[in-house]
Symmetry: C2
Amino acid sequence: MKAGTEQTGDNTDHQGRRRLTPAEREKQIVDGAIRFFAEVGFEGQTRELAKRLGITQPLLYRYFPSKDSLIERVYLEVFVKRWQPGWDVLIVDRSRSLHDRLTQFYREYTRAIFNYEWVRIFMFAGLKGVNINERYLGIVREKLLRPVCTELREMAGLPSPEVVPLTEEELELAWDLHGGMYYMGIRQWIYHLSVPDDLDGHIDRVVGTFLRGAPETLREHFPSLAPNAPSSSGAN
Amino acid sequence: MKAGTEQTGDNTDHQGRRRLTPAEREKQIVDGAIRFFAEVGFEGQTRELAKRLGITQPLLYRYFPSKDSLIERVYLEVFVKRWQPGWDVLIVDRSRSLHDRLTQFYREYTRAIFNYEWVRIFMFAGLKGVNINERYLGIVREKLLRPVCTELREMAGLPSPEVVPLTEEELELAWDLHGGMYYMGIRQWIYHLSVPDDLDGHIDRVVGTFLRGAPETLREHFPSLAPNAPSSSGAN
DNA sequence: TCCATAGTTAATCAAACGATAAATAACTTG
DNA sequence: CAAGTTATTTATCGTTTGATTAACTATGGA
């Protein structure tokens, strides 16, 4: 096994030492880091990352002063600008049925974030206790769940939240809808289970099931506020 | 700062070197390891674990030949015997309403597994790619979701799975119910968000919403099999 | 053709980390 | 209480890992 010429590294042709502009190289490192950390978690080693990128470890430190700063950059890249402004208006557009709106929203939403990198990095961040999750889920609550609850009030013929503030119980019902959807991503990218191949049809059925049941649940939850409310408890 | 007597360790009185029976010590180590790994993940260091246990690091290696074997033991302890046999029969007990059964099941189920250790270790295992998750979720699918789908068929007045096999789409609907529930655990123990304080009431509402909507969804999904089926598409 | 600089090679440091061997002290037994 | 067993500690080894440095190489724009 003793070769006359010492084996040079081995990866990526030695001559292929392409010289990228700093901007290109930085992007390449960040993209590679996203994929790498999504796979192995943030304890992944800089040497291994460099190897996968086909560059040397010291070069990483030419672009990022520390591993932590690189991780910070990964967070930024993955989570920023992931909530599309159009979604805000979509949810509250009463010219369309709530079923239509929610179906379209979740089709776009799942397409936007149901991918290996997003789901896993978000979970790693949560387990690590980074504040990013709470911030992001705060957006989900305010821009999605709260509006959905408002629409459900309307659908159920109940007073608007401006008259009777939303309760935690209502928000929890909306969280349940959202959680059922997101759990698909977890099943797929963390538990390695199969998920619906007809995603659009599935979303349609889930939203349909929810919207068929939720208004009645809400009326039960606000017996005194329901339209033509039975004064006390009404049997099924 | 130079003390005459070298400071001895610092934790748990040096003289407190209690000598436990091997069984006691082993249990103490396993319990501590569960809590420790649930918090920091399996990359947590044996020195830190020992410190928290108030013992020295080499002692760990008297009870477990390697860190991996300790982790293996943690898996065993956390996941074994977590599916209670009574649940199997509860789900299919047609002397009670499906609403009752599912409500009781999820009350017991969440009480059994919605805790810091279970939720986090299960997630860490999933991210690490251990086979344990697939095995456990296989049980969930066969012992919970499939039976639930069978009961939904009955409820919707559709043929039993023995006549018309369950479709993936139906199972996905059941996964959605389950996922919505489990997402509560994730929100609480991984994302550090608040969850319903009235858990029983919440479960009741979620199950109610689901059962109110699912039968109709199923009938839509099997238009030709539905009782008094409208031959083609029926408008809402 | 020149030369600024992207990138490599190689070596190394200090701290962290899994694991081991030898020494020590707590408990048991006769 | 003496003797033996073994739970636990002390000290340490070998490796990994984030981070740094110095010297060298070669790409590609002016």
